[in-house]
């Protein structure tokens, strides 16, 4: 499934990798506007994490763990951490993709659509 993949976005002009998607390259010396999708997956390092007990509507769980990771190519990403025990800053993780939320759009009829994103698991 196409939406089940996560990407880094490589500027076609200077090669800088981005996540998430931008409209203009974030390199201050480049004005690139075209990007090539590069799969963003696999091993990464946990930079920091938190366990949050007050969640927005729609999460029927007592808490969620969130982390910021850095991939070997230098790209960083925020996501959910898919396990509870032994979470430690600096540990190696593997980035998987799963459903992270139900997006609810209230317009005439209420539409609910799943949203996919990073779920980091034990390496």
């Amino acid at each position: 499934m196409e939406e089940m993949k996560m990407y880094a976005y490589k500027c076609k002009k200077c090669g800088k990798l981005h996540h998430p998607r931008y409209i203009v390259c974030q390199n201050p010396d480049c004005d690139g506007r075209e990007f090539e999708e590069v799969p963003l997956e696999g091993k990464c390092k946990l930079l920091t994490w938190t366990r949050v007990y007050n969640l927005p509507e729609g999460y029927m769980v007592p808490w969620l763990n969130f982390g910021i990771v850095e991939f070997p190519n230098g790209v960083r990403a925020t996501g959910q951490i898919g396990f509870d025990d032994g979470i430690e800053t600096g540990m190696e993780l593997v980035a998987t993709v799963g459903q992270v939320r139900d997006k609810v759009i209230k317009y005439k009829e209420t539409v609910t659509e799943p949203q996919y994103g990073f779920i980091f698991q034990k390496a």
């Binding site: 998430p20 920091t48 949050v52 007050n54 969640l55 509507e57 925020t78 959910q80 939320r101 997006k103």
Partner: protein, 398 residues
């Protein structure tokens, strides 16, 4: 540039408002106008009204707030705009008021900050505030502002040795200050032992966003605050000659990456540093000149980090200064004499204006039991998003 200063201040009691939202907003506005002696109707001299609010449209279902307030207060046909810059909406409104007068377009501007957050449930409020985050890279994961504060706090703990107890020390200090502030949301003495003792901590001070605990973050509040700005060269003519002129010596604001993970140094709050530098430069003051500061402590870690980014303390030592009591009212660098967001409360769009009101009180010598002796120059930091849009303001009697 013309000299611009504050001649009137108003502030509702923060907490849970019992009056309609527009009434609450008008109450702060009228208090500031009465403080200055500004009249309504045919005698009105206010050229422009700016109202900072983040949630009026989404939470209160009231958009076009400034237009409504101008009419309710009989200030027509004064210009009116509603300003939205997240939790920094209030200071942005003050900044725009300053610019309007400094540029010569206006002579007198009324600035109000107002928010009614307690009309919705806690999770609705938390979710609403989280809509500031990046929709794809952050918000969709269920991340909230406390989540980012938790992620940021852990980084600061790892890098600088900030401890959970340090956060509690800041919290206890701000609660103590709020006990001296009649308009604060929470006016209870909080004892350090009670919220740090390992044996009872999970009951008295539970984790909210590990390592952040309940006393490491601000409550959800309703409230409004207002200031009346006037050009120095028109103060007499417009009828405000009897009022002490608290000059806005410098304003600055700066932005940072929307996606928090993409900051070059994740423990830096670059927009705080750059906005403060801009305000210092405009004012000609340096951190050494600051006698009292209101720093945006939506989370206690932010008071520590902002005290460093603004140059009040060297990098990595803000928590040590708090431990040593330097940031208490009688310390060498008093911070958040009002009680801060932690205890005075944090009605989003009102907060930036409320900080200015507190500093005007300090500079007028009207802060009562929480007065910083001889305060002449003051700094405010109003922090929007998770630090991606920050406004700094420097006030002085000089």
């Amino acid at each position: 540039m013309r000299e611009v200063g504050i001649v009137g201040i108003g502030h509702t009691k923060f907490g849970k408002s019992n009056v309609p939202f527009i009434d609450m907003t008008c109450q702060a506005a009228l208090e500031a106008m009465d403080d200055a002696g500004a009249k309504t109707g045919r005698k009105n001299v206010i050229d422009q009204v700016f109202i900072g609010t983040m949630a009026a449209g989404m939470v209160q279902r009231i958009s076009g707030l400034a237009s409504a307030v101008v009419d309710t207060l009989n200030l027509r046909p004064a210009m009116a705009e509603t300003i939205e810059n997240g939790p920094a909406s209030g200071a942005s409104a003050v900044k725009l008021g300053f610019m309007a007068i400094a540029s010569g377009v206006c002579d007198c501007v009324l600035v109000v900050g107002a928010e009614g957050m307690r009309a919705v449930t806690g999770w609705e409020g938390t979710d609403f505030v989280a809509t500031m985050l990046h929709p794809e890279a952050e918000y969709k994961y269920g991340c909230t502002l406390p989540s980012f504060a938790g992620l940021f706090t852990r980084l600061c703990m790892d890098k600088y040795g900030v401890t959970s107890k340090d956060l509690s020390i800041v919290s206890v200090k701000n609660h103590a200050n709020a006990c001296l502030n009649p308009v604060a949301h929470i006016r209870n003495v909080v004892k350090l032992d009670r919220i740090t003792d390992e044996r009872i901590i999970n009951a008295t001070n539970p984790l909210v966003a590990d390592p952040l605990r309940q006393f490491d973050m601000c409550p959800v509040s309703d409230g409004a605050a207002a200031v009346l700005l006037v050009a120095k060269d028109k103060q007499e003519e417009l009828g405000f000659g009897g009022k002490k002129f608290i000059r806005i010596a410098g304003v600055g604001s700066a932005t940072d990456t929307h996606v928090v993970a993409n900051r070059e140094v994740p423990t830096d709050l670059l927009a705080v540093r750059l906005s403060a530098q801009m305000a210092y430069k405009m004012s000609g003051f340096t951190p050494k000149d600051i006698d009292v500061a209101e720093l945006h402590d939506a989370f206690q870690i932010l008071e520590i980090a902002e005290s460093e980014e603004t140059g009040l303390f060297p990098r990595g030592t803000g928590h040590l200064a708090a431990r040593e009591g330097k940031t208490e009212i009688k310390g060498e660098m008093p911070i958040n004499t009002s009680g801060g967001l932690k205890a005075k409360g944090h009605p989003l769009g009102a907060t930036g204006v409320s900080q200015i009101v507190e500093l005007v009180k300090q500079l007028r010598g009207e802060a009562g039991e929480r007065q910083v002796e001889g305060a002449k120059t003051a700094l405010a930091i109003n922090f929007g998003g998770f630090g991606n849009n920050v406004v700094a303001t420097i006030l002085t009697t000089k």
